[in-house]
Amino acid sequence: MVGDVAIRVEGLVKRYGAVTALDGVGFEVRRGELFGLIGPDGAGKTTLFRLLATLLTPDAGRAEVDGCDIVREARAIRSRVGYMPGRFSLYADLSVEENLAFFAALFGVSVRDNYGLIEPIYRQLEPFRTRRAGKLSGGMKQKLALCCALIHRPSVLLLDEPTTGVDPVSRSEFWEMLARLRSEGISILVATPYMDEAQRCDRVALCDRGRLLAVETPDGVVASFDGVLYALSGREMFGLLAAARAEAGVEACYPFGAVHHLRVAREFDPERFRRRLLAEGFHEVGIRRVEPGIEDVFIKRMEHE
């Protein structure tokens, strides 16, 4: 009856006093889709999650989760979503299994009922069953939180920055789990500040200051970049930054890993720039054309805001 839409958001507005946290946001998450929300702190991601989890009431607009209206059918939504807030939201003084048992009971199910769903994740936690949750590592905490959010077999998962502060290996494992859950038919809305994680989503929404800048597939986002990008490297990285910014034809220059990314106008001549830098006393200067990534698109869009 609800068709193939898991989350539908239309013109959602939320204000806190004079601050507008969400300013008319609209998008759809399809059933079984892994949908990423990418944006900086203060973009309104947490507010959006709280609205969808029915913890807040919108000032305007409407939204449906799993076919239920977030205002009128809030109670029905609560048994259908699994929600992981941004902060660590387990009981630090309870053990791993006590936390899990508690959240199962909260939703009126037993751990055994849905063990199959969480098994691949919980297996890693099994050796620490009796350890207090507060003594787990960051990555383990997040896995336990995911288990707790899944234990009642929700049809929609709302994950607010689940991997912030987690090391790359645990992050990577966490995303492998999300991919598996998607294959079980669970729709997932996940927020992240890591651009490399965006690549693992079916579609992403770039958001900033309460608005969506774009909703696209990761490849689509990259394809929308309409500029030319060069990577500049050398021994004096800090000096190169200033030199590149002073160069005509360079629209933007920012550090990007081991290199600096230069967004340039069409008429930019890299070879002439390189010679100039060498003449100015820079060492080991290298410049080459590179393909943009999501991060480059994001930076560009944010600069234009």
Binding site: V166, P255, A258
Partner: protein
């Protein structure tokens, strides 16, 4: 590289908690003006090692010197000569920008005139002169982090320890933050940084990879990628950290 002056040097540094060895015979050096990336999975022992270097905890065995002072016996001198900034605690939210600067300047014993002089320069450099009397609470996270870094270096320390300084910050703000780090390093300050963003690891002069309390790899990002035949630091990290035997703590 060895002709340069070592600001941090550590020999066989070890820290045990009961039967558990959190940091296992670490030996390395960090030179003046370097950006030294201290990488490792959650629980690899990064925080424990960093605490010892900051003079906050005693090593079980081994020794280390930071800014010329012994970490086991001269903790107080070390604290005066280093800057420290973490993601969790950086500035007082309910004080204004200027009040925070004054507070930390005062803690490090700068005179009022000196604090004011440096505050003006700092605010101009960060481009937030108009926000001097704004409460820190209402600044965007990216600005807060930059301000926190500037405050941590207000007393011109020889070494700055940064514990995951950019967690949760957007890509643009992260880059602006790293520009500040570049600038400080170019000015001769030594930077010791932990991060979970592997692209940030590439900004570092050298990186070390901590696995199970031991350094598994140490070198410039390019050297290490070459030695382990990895495309990126991210891949390198995953390969080394997956070999961790220690159960995640």
């Amino acid at each position: 590289m060895n002709d340069r002056e070592a600001v941090i040097s550590v020999r066989e540094l070890t820290k045990c908690f009961g039967a558990f060895t959190a940091v296992d015979h670490l030996s390395f050096e960090v030179f003046r003006g370097e950006i030294f990336g201290f990488l490792g999975a959650n629980g690899a022992g990064k925080t424990t090692a960093m605490r010892m270097l900051c003079g906050l905890s005693y090593p079980t065995s081994g020794w280390g010197r930071v800014a010329g002072y012994d970490i086991a016996t001269q903790g107080e001198e070390i604290k005066r000569h280093i800057g420290y900034m973490s993601q969790r605690f950086s500035l007082y939210d309910d004080l204004t920008v200027l009040e925070n600067i004054r507070l930390f300047g005062g803690i490090y014993g700068l005179s009022r005139r000196e604090i004011l002089r440096r505050a003006v320069g700092l605010l101009r450099r960060l481009g937030i002169r108009g926000e001097a009397h704004t409460r820190v609470r209402s600044l965007p996270l990216g600005w807060k982090q930059k301000l926190a870094f500037a405050v941590a270096t207000l007393h011109r320390p020889e070494v700055v320890f940064l514990d995951e300084p950019t967690g949760g910050v957007d890509p643009l703000a992260r880059r602006q933050f790293w520009e500040l780090i570049y600038e400080a390093a170019a000015g001769g300050t030594t930077i010791f940084v932990t991060t979970h963003y592997m692209d940030e690891a590439e900004y570092c002069t050298r990186i070390s990879m901590l696995v199970d309390g031991r350094i598994q790899a140490l070198g410039t990002p390019a050297e290490l990628k070459c030695r382990f035949a990895a495309e990126s630091v991210d891949e390198l990290f995953r390969r080394l950290a997956r070999g961790a035997k220690r159960a995640q703590e």
